[in-house]
Symmetry: C2
Subunit: 485 residues, 2 copies
Amino acid sequence: MRNCTGNKPHTILRVSVKHQYTRTFAIMDAIRQRIATRALVPGDRLPSIRQFARTLQASPSTVVQAYDRLAAEGVISPRQGSGFYVTGRALPPLSLADTTTPAARAVDPFWVSRQSLDSDPTVLKPGCGWLPTEWMPHEALRKALRAVARRDDTILSEYGGTRGALRLRRLLTAQFATEGLDISPDQVLLTGSGTQAVDLICRLLVRRGDTVLVDDPCYFNFQALLRAHEIRIVGVPYTTTGPDTEAFERIVLKEKPRLYITNSVLHNPTGATLSPQTAFRLLSIVATSGMQVVEDDIFTDFETVPSARLAVMDGLEHVIRVGSFSKTLSASVRCGYIAAPKELIDGLIDLQVATSFGGPGPITTEVIADVLEGGSYRKHMHEIMRRLEKSRKTVAHKLKTLEIVPWIVPKGGFYLWCRLPDGQDSTKIALSSLTDKIIHAPGNAFSVSQSASSFMRFNVTQCENEKIFHSLEQILAGRPQTNSL
Amino acid sequence: MRNCTGNKPHTILRVSVKHQYTRTFAIMDAIRQRIATRALVPGDRLPSIRQFARTLQASPSTVVQAYDRLAAEGVISPRQGSGFYVTGRALPPLSLADTTTPAARAVDPFWVSRQSLDSDPTVLKPGCGWLPTEWMPHEALRKALRAVARRDDTILSEYGGTRGALRLRRLLTAQFATEGLDISPDQVLLTGSGTQAVDLICRLLVRRGDTVLVDDPCYFNFQALLRAHEIRIVGVPYTTTGPDTEAFERIVLKEKPRLYITNSVLHNPTGATLSPQTAFRLLSIVATSGMQVVEDDIFTDFETVPSARLAVMDGLEHVIRVGSFSKTLSASVRCGYIAAPKELIDGLIDLQVATSFGGPGPITTEVIADVLEGGSYRKHMHEIMRRLEKSRKTVAHKLKTLEIVPWIVPKGGFYLWCRLPDGQDSTKIALSSLTDKIIHAPGNAFSVSQSASSFMRFNVTQCENEKIFHSLEQILAGRPQTNSL
């Protein structure tokens, strides 16, 4: 067994470092490097912490940290009383990136999510469904994390109750009250995400073979979710003021659906908002049909004055309201919610315990409640809405020069649902754009009837880079296609 | 409209406060109080921030914070340029507690979880499935939260990739490698929780009406989960070295199950550990049957020397390994994992996107990776194991004086699966104990065949309070029962 101290360990540290954190990683990288080049081989003992620290002119705690982390990775291993030894288990290099360039796969309801979530940072994502990182309230999030680090032990390590933190449920009911919906925090269940909220409702209320209505077009993940349930999906044609209520009534009578899932406010993908008249007609049909409505209110914070909401008008009798904080606060703190009649909440709790052992933990809900209660969130949202208004105009203008025209002018949010020039197919464009490392959201990813091939959803906040428009121009002009499928 | 400044606002602040945070809440409480007593009524304007701060001898920023938080709650509302006004929407008082005393409900697979998760802190929980709060590594968690507060914006607000953070997946594969299981981080998927890991696997592999095997007795939530899937559940008798392999073979031939779900290490509820011989026989049967095994390895960190594991022996061919960090690190940071053959991972990713829009966010996975990599986690687990050994002995001794006898002496963990004195029924005892605010885990909550009424699972770490043994003694001696059902 060689002792590697003979190998001039000070040559290990080539990187010039200042900060201890960086320094720790530099030491770790250097040791890994020496293992990779077999300058250190399995069974070799690393220098003692004290000795190594002296050689490197580093603090012993830095060396301790580096050794501990490498031990946690399994690269080296401590032996009682005799230091650390090389194990021979090398990790795959970190450059085995966590992200990939967009890969060709069929344009199905997963297309946009999988492409966007796993793309590397150089990929442009006009098709994705969230704000750019730099738009999010990071200072408030950092402050909240530091504050949570000072909270009670129970917050840091316990499961919390099965409904999720009362503090956050109270903030939600307070917000609902401003819209005219007065409910008790007992009628709110926190869930692992907004999507999981819809999933739990489907698990409780829908059986395989049942029929569920969605808008056509609708948020693509509703289709992905319902397919996972092996449910019949029927689309309701969508108009600029909400679903076509005549078609809705006809379909309800014919199909006897169990659920209708929709966004009322700033509908995804169209950006339209339900009118009070459509809301009233819709609820009248629902009331006599025995079905229920899931109103996904994920874009609620993008409105200054609340528009018509089914849950409010109906008072949560036939309508279940769901939402989350991913679009405006953070997608990294995973949390959604369900506001429902009391008699449903107990069943939903049991289901969430059975399938996830509860909803979001106390750390997550404290961070969210802290950000919501801190005064800066309101200012943050005002600023977001100001920027969005400007951004929608700019992008609509640029698209117009390519003869790509918004279906409506949305009164808020970040989506423009656009018609392409005659004869253009958005699926082909989306596939072709992958070559340029651009991810688009083609219309048919949103359409149950597959009738939206001439439409494309643009996220205006993700359209800052001119490359997106150059690429579109070329493709529309008939650039020879490299079909990536 | 009255202006409340006439009402001597300095009388609002009765509570003596020092810290700004506390002071903010004191101001908020005082304003709420005055609304409750109608000293302030809807439409009243609150004093200006500057004026109010002067009156209270508080800093203006404290008053701003109090107003902002009350505005977030909807209690007051800002009007452009003219201050804050009382809205008339009062919140339910915070004393509307988040927790409840244990309620009588049927002893079903939800009994233990619902009772334990929602009980107030004064309730004793020898039946629950986790360590007491004070056993958890809070300093490491606090340090990790502070560190995460300093990380890149992308960590704080983005979704992260669909597989979950590579950093944490690498740490997991490094740990698996120390047990002899060499897999790529691409074969690991991070999930919202350990339970959700099992749920996703069932969604991918099992169809309604299929048969799934579990141990009898087994972790009660496996039953709750499988019931949610409307799956046929068949129990395999459990021995002190794992499932009865002869019975297993007979059942497999007869029932053609799709899955078998088990814990190999420190089996819940018995505390037994699979022997290498049983593991080999089991895998031989599985290999020729076309079924798959889900090995829930949640207690892996409670072992110093790894015992036989199905996933390791099988090399992830027919076995899928799942686990989480709730038992040893924190139940508040929700995260589980699946290690599976590559061809299953893609389907699981799609399912998790469809039903939860991905797994744990980057904040959660960074906190966990930081704690695991920080040197203190190893020391923490050593200390836990030392305490557990002592605790198992003490509790076994105390139970013996009540003629409650452990089925086996487990080599680790915190469970003792105990036989009650002749003729005693654990369900009756559990119901009776609710009167004493004690939550027990009666045997039949774990038993598919309902054949464990004379057994009870004790969590030794939750048995510090002598009241538990006094209560048991009285009930066993035939205390007149107040049947709470």
